[in-house]
Symmetry: C2
């Protein structure tokens, strides 16, 4: 359906039109003011160069379109008493969203020094893109925002994440036509196949085609409209078009389009909720086609600006030096007739405020955009129910993620009514052994189902789509609006969201400094199907570098755990699910793994983050050991224990300490990470001068980069994944990367003073075992029986 401005009959009366336009003009005025002015905000005197900022940094191009959307959302929120949130995809529209928040009062409520008067307006203008001020994007600092617009592509998945399990919420989502070219955005259109019209709210995408990116036209603005309509219908939407450049006509068309869309959403929700309709709804989408930089300078220095990419940033760039530019800027500002919009104190006049919703209905004041306000404690059951029995270490095997799956099943169950917990993953929930959750919730699915399907559920809260980007975006949106969740992912492919998690961590870092932002539930990753167990996938599925990536980011917001068995995984997961404002990365195996610790031991060990496993070593407690065997990660832990056993057998006189590290940031200096150990603690654990042979799950140099300041660093020898991967057996993988038990024993022999000569024959025996492995695997394609059948005999 097309609400072309040329055909629309006026449904707004003149008064409504006038007040809507007043609001829009006010927002436009304030947007331009933020970009340009540092004084004389109301133009009470003629504009002079010194009123203009010395550095002009901002983006005008997208602002008038966003102002139009905000203005019209106000109207429908007010007339329909909607509970609404808006995700602003074109993030460079910072000035627009800030302007609207100031107009509606939420800005001043959030930042009381930016009053809704001339003095506050002056502050508002100056602070924008000013050092120490507010960013040019929609950002954590922006009231009403759950979406930072600096990196494009995530608006729509954030919007869906916000809408899931919020049945009364309308989530409008403005998608820029630049952003629409990105992969994550393109994939996220299909999120509507996962939106339950009964338990979820509605998402109303508003595709804003202003036609240009930084320097190019956009693809979607330059395909014929019928082709665009096919695309949007192919995505499962019904398009409604608003096209034009005459403000009055566009106001009328936009009002009608929103009314049409919201009527249809209400109908679809009613059909599903009251009539039990089971068809996947065809939700509306609004296509808003207005000029880039609309109402700005039409031409500058003889070149077209309004309606072109030249209006992307600052249309008039030389205002302080070029009197003609200064004059044009003043004319531009005055074209909004500020005297009609603001009273003599600089406060918005009643006409401007006619459509502002009340209280928390305002987009800048909705608690859904400050989700911590709505967050409830997750009902986590006692871990004892799920813990595996451990009579002695290493006597039994369990799949750690399978055990965790049982806990997650009960979390799912206990949130069945509240619906504030979701599990997301790229088609890997069962592969990652979490299938127990299906006992409490099916998989969200609104597309066709067949008899043969299992666990698909129109009301499910397990989310699976083969797009890590979409999973990440959904979960971020869900958490930012005050709920809980966990993302399970193959370890190697979580790199797909490296850049997304960067932005989320940046968001957390900023919000942690904003007192008005309430803490939200942490973003929890369970990384499994990890580097050491890619038997049938091989090299392309082997990459443990996400931990390195995460540890580059703000220490206050990132936590990394490598639980070595089932009970430690339970303890870590419990901790992560209770925590706030972190990104928690948990790396754990899905293959059968020895149980080392009882639940009580696991709790103590995880609380410490790193500790001596006395039962595994041979220290007598009277003096420091000869060597420390350290480990982090399930496979390295097994190899270290096997090495300790070999040492006990073959070199009983060597005193060995075994240290296991769960919380990898413990290795950092206490001044560099909140979890970092003091040097005193570190030396107590690892010694200051004894050799440490450290078997690490990932890239070995990470351990050096964390521990390089430690006294004993020169004695630290790390084994890990050296980017030598292939399709092979578990033990062959560790042999190829020199992380195997035999190599670790050789490392000890090479490093403990005096041992090299004395233990030469043992060393040779270890070499021989590695050779035996190579010979065996070539013929049998399996691991040596003594490795495959190994058990801890301690």
């Amino acid at each position: 359906m097309s609400v072309d401005t040329r055909q629309t009959s006026a449904r707004l009366n003149d008064d409504e039109l006038r007040t809507l336009d007043a609001h829009w003009r006010a927002a436009n005025y304030l947007s331009v003011g933020q970009i340009y002015l540092m004084a004389n905000p109301l133009l009470t005197e003629p504009l002079r160069p010194e009123h203009v900022k010395p550095r002009l940094l901002g983006h005008w191009g997208t602002s008038p379109g966003l102002n139009l959307v905000y203005t019209h959302l106000n109207r429908v929120i007010r007339t329909r008493d909607l509970n609404a949130l808006c995700v602003w995809g074109p993030g460079h529209g910072g000035p627009a969203v800030v302007a609207n928040s100031w107009l509606e009062g939420s800005y001043t409520e959030t930042y009381p020094d930016v009053t809704r008067d001339a003095a506050g307006m002056a502050r508002l203008f100056k602070q924008f893109s000013f050092p120490g001020g507010v960013p040019s994007h929609v950002a954590p600092e922006t009231p009403g925002s759950i979406h930072e617009g600096g990196e494009l592509g995530y608006s729509l998945s954030h919007a869906y994440g916000a809408a899931y399990d919020n049945p009364d919420l309308l989530v409008a989502c403005v998608i820029g036509d630049g952003e629409a070219e990105t992969g994550p955005l393109a994939a996220s259109w299909h999120s509507n196949k996962f939106l339950d019209p009964v338990h979820d709210g509605a998402v109303l995408p508003i595709l804003h085609l202003n036609g240009y990116k930084i320097a190019n036209p956009t693809v979607l603005a330059r395909i014929p409209e019928p082709e665009l309509d096919e695309l949007l219908r192919g995505y499962g939407h019904d398009p409604i078009h608003v096209t034009g450049d005459d403000p009055a006509a566009v106001h009328r068309a936009m009002a009608e389009a929103l009314d049409t869309a919201l009527d249809r959403i209400a109908d679809l929700q009613r059909a599903a909720r009251e009539d039990g309709a089971g068809e996947r709804p065809r939700w509306p989408v609004i296509v808003l086609r207005t000029p880039k930089g609309w109402t700005g300078p039409a031409q500058v220095d003889g070149l077209p600006v309004e309606g072109t990419w030249r209006s992307h940033q600052v249309p008039l760039a030389a205002v302080r030096d070029n009197p003609e530019h200064l004059r044009r800027l003043e004319a531009w500002l005055r074209s909004y007739r500020p005297e009609e919009l603001f009273d003599e104190h600089g406060s918005p006049r009643l006409d401007v405020l006619a459509w502002i919703p009340d209280g928390t209905r305002r987009l800048g004041a909705t608690p859904h955009a400050n989700g911590g306000l709505l967050l409830r404690e997750l009902p986590l059951p006692a871990l004892e129910t799920y813990a595996v029995e451990v009579d002695k270490p290493g006597a039994t095997l369990h799949e750690p993620t399978g055990v965790l799956g049982q806990l997650l099943e009960d979390v799912m169950r206990s949130t069945a009514e509240r619906r504030d917990f979701r599990l997301v993953g790229p088609d890997e929930t069962a592969s990652n052994r979490l299938q127990a959750v299906y006992g409490a919730s099916g998989k969200a699915w609104q597309a066709q189902t067949l008899q043969v399907d299992e666990h698909l559920d129109r009301h499910g809260r397990v989310m699976e789509i083969l797009s890590e980007h979409t999973c990440q975006g959904w979960l971020e949106g869900y958490l930012l609006t005050g709920r809980h969740g966990l993302f399970s992912c193959y370890e190697a492919f979580v790199h797909i969201v490296d850049s997304m998690v960067n932005q989320h961590i940046k968001w957390l870092r900023v919000t942690r400094r904003l007192p008005w932002r309430a803490p939200i539930a942490s973003l929890n990753y369970l990384l499994t199907s990890h580097v050491w167990r890619q038997d049938h996938n091989g090299f392309s599925h082997q990459d443990p570098g996400f931990v390195d990536h995460i540890l580059n980011k703000s220490p206050e917001a990132v936590r990394v755990y490598l639980p070595p068995d089932a009970n430690t995984l339970l303890s870590v997961a419990d901790h992560a699910l209770r925590s706030r404002d972190y990104v928690n990365v948990i790396v754990a195996g899905k293959q059968p793994c020895f149980d080392w610790l009882t639940l009580d031991q696991a709790r103590v060990h995880c609380a410490r983050g790193a500790g001596v496993w006395e039962w595994a070593g041979t220290e007598d407690g009277t003096r420091e050991p000869d060597v420390v065997l350290a480990c982090a990660g399930d496979v390295p832990t097994q190899e270290v224990l096997a090495a300790a056993q070999l040492l006990r057998t073959h070199l009983p006189e060597v005193s060995v300490r075994v240290v296991n590290v769960v919380d990898i940031a413990r290795l950092m200096p206490s001044g560099e990470h909140p979890h970092g150990m003091s040097d005193f603690e570190y030396d107590g654990l690892f010694t200051a001068d004894k050799p440490v042979v450290f078997a690490y799950h990932g890239y070995p140099w990470l351990i050096h980069r964390l521990a390089y300041r430690r006294t004993g660093h020169a004695h630290l020898h790390v084994r890990g994944y050296k980017e030598i991967g292939t399709t092979t057996t578990p033990f062959d993988m560790v042999v190829r990367n020199d992380l195997d038990r035999y190599r670790l024993v050789m490392d000890v022999i090479d490093r403990v003073p005096g041992l090299a000569v004395r233990a030469a024959s043992v060393r040779q025996r270890m070499e021989d075992a590695r050779l035996r492995h190579h010979d065996w695997i070539r013929v049998h394609g399996t691991d040596l029986p003594e490795v495959a059948d190994w058990t801890w005999d301690g």
Copy 2:
């Protein structure tokens, strides 16, 4: 158009149908054999457990569909004498593509020990997913492949990259319906708006809807067919459907669909090339809907398998232990009637080979899939033309990337006829100051153009789309088929392709070990708009961690350069563009930057990768300096030189050495990276025991992780980006991160023995300067005049 199997009139005659089916059955037989058998390949005796591999690792589900496509591509290649390449998106179909390569003979030509007879078949079977054998995915080891299928999402952008500037090439691209859910794949459909029907080849996407992923139905298989058609038409394609599960009917339909598609492609190309048609063509796409695991076991243990997700991997899992499974496997294998397909020596019979194309027309033998064979030297002009004049260091300013742009313009020009060089970027070519290239080539664009547009060109070789994924995929496909290119990107957002570049580096690492793979041109990144100069974008645009990510990967394939000025950038870029089989990361600024080195000096310096800038220090050459000021990156270099100048002024008695590092891997030990320095070299440059204050462009701990083994490491003090970012001035950024000149001088004072007391007043002066900065910027929003106007006085 729908070629539904129920409606298709038979156009294949019986003989054709019989031979096509024979080939398909042979390929299916060989696929199953690879997954299961390690002996008795021709079933010359009844199948026994010991004929079956002990570990069953592989993916049957997608294989029959890929075999069908390969079989039918053979037919059209042969009948039309096509120059064709196929990109196999469902990478788990390794057994299928390998089977077809073996049938056509290209496998044996590539791997002579895998002969096309029973002995070779036995090897073929055993090696698959066997330790030390071949991967289960389509991989670098697979003849005819330019695409590793382990990580999904990149097939279609690879296909387009291969097609660009290959006017005679047909690039078929099988897209799995799982892969189709990913963001990168979803975005890449729009690549057709960038495909020039005159100078580029054709891409024929074959969307294979077998309906399931690992454990779920796929979205595109479960939306109504009319909705799918709208989606595909919205992407700009004309869909042709092939649907069915009766082999004979599907053969007929597939043959007709391919003929229809290829006729249409030929018509569209003729219209553009001969008739000068200027309309963007609507290219065909084939939608192939056949059962997952087609022709495999229909049910296993009472559960449906064929046509469901249960056939994804190994349908019969317990073959060695369960006699019923063994029996079923034998029946399954014999259902292909191997005796009709292979002669008594195990060689394929003539019927099977009837459609195999000749020589390099075979998909497994096309040189386009081994692009190094086709690669020509890039005509690089002499750098003297572009070099900036440097009479003395630091006296002039240039935008380094702007200077590089002039070189790239001439590379564009000199390849205008050859068309084997492309520049890709996400809408940032001009923003990154490379706009000079438009003098030699416009931007590829097939969508609508308007009067106001600039530099859009139906035949352009500058590629801009706001999708880093698509840019990366295009360039990879272009390079892998034997051409050259460069990707310019904002530094922070190159993380978007972290996972893609992982896979490309893995590809390079494997191909470097395959003697039959000819070296290809390196993948060159120009990372600019970097962390220190995000004045109007702020925190979301600040992330220098791509270097850390890259340096985790195989050292043989990765190179990282941080040229400090225009001439060093020219030298580094020239080197990168000439190199082979690397990923080169070049980090360089686009803002005006001091010129430090003449071209000749730059060449020598870049060849060394790191060196002393004698003119910047105050050593007298008779003894080691008191301190080394080291730097890497343009902004750190400027701050180090400013610090050196302050030291010369305020503490002339301190002997300072200035070291600049261009090639960051030089810091690594020589045993860890081919560019690593020996300890002797390192100590000569940095000393073994003098304090080194190192100003680094990125995360400071990277330098520690590279240099932790060096003798002098305990004296190494690194400053860099500490994840403290915001919208602010360039100098404020370095102050906030303690990388500024004043802080560096303080670091020197704190670290040179005996200086702390003697230079206390100088240290205070530095502190004062930082405070002055804080006061100034709060008021003026600009940098201190003495910083803004600073010049080198050496």
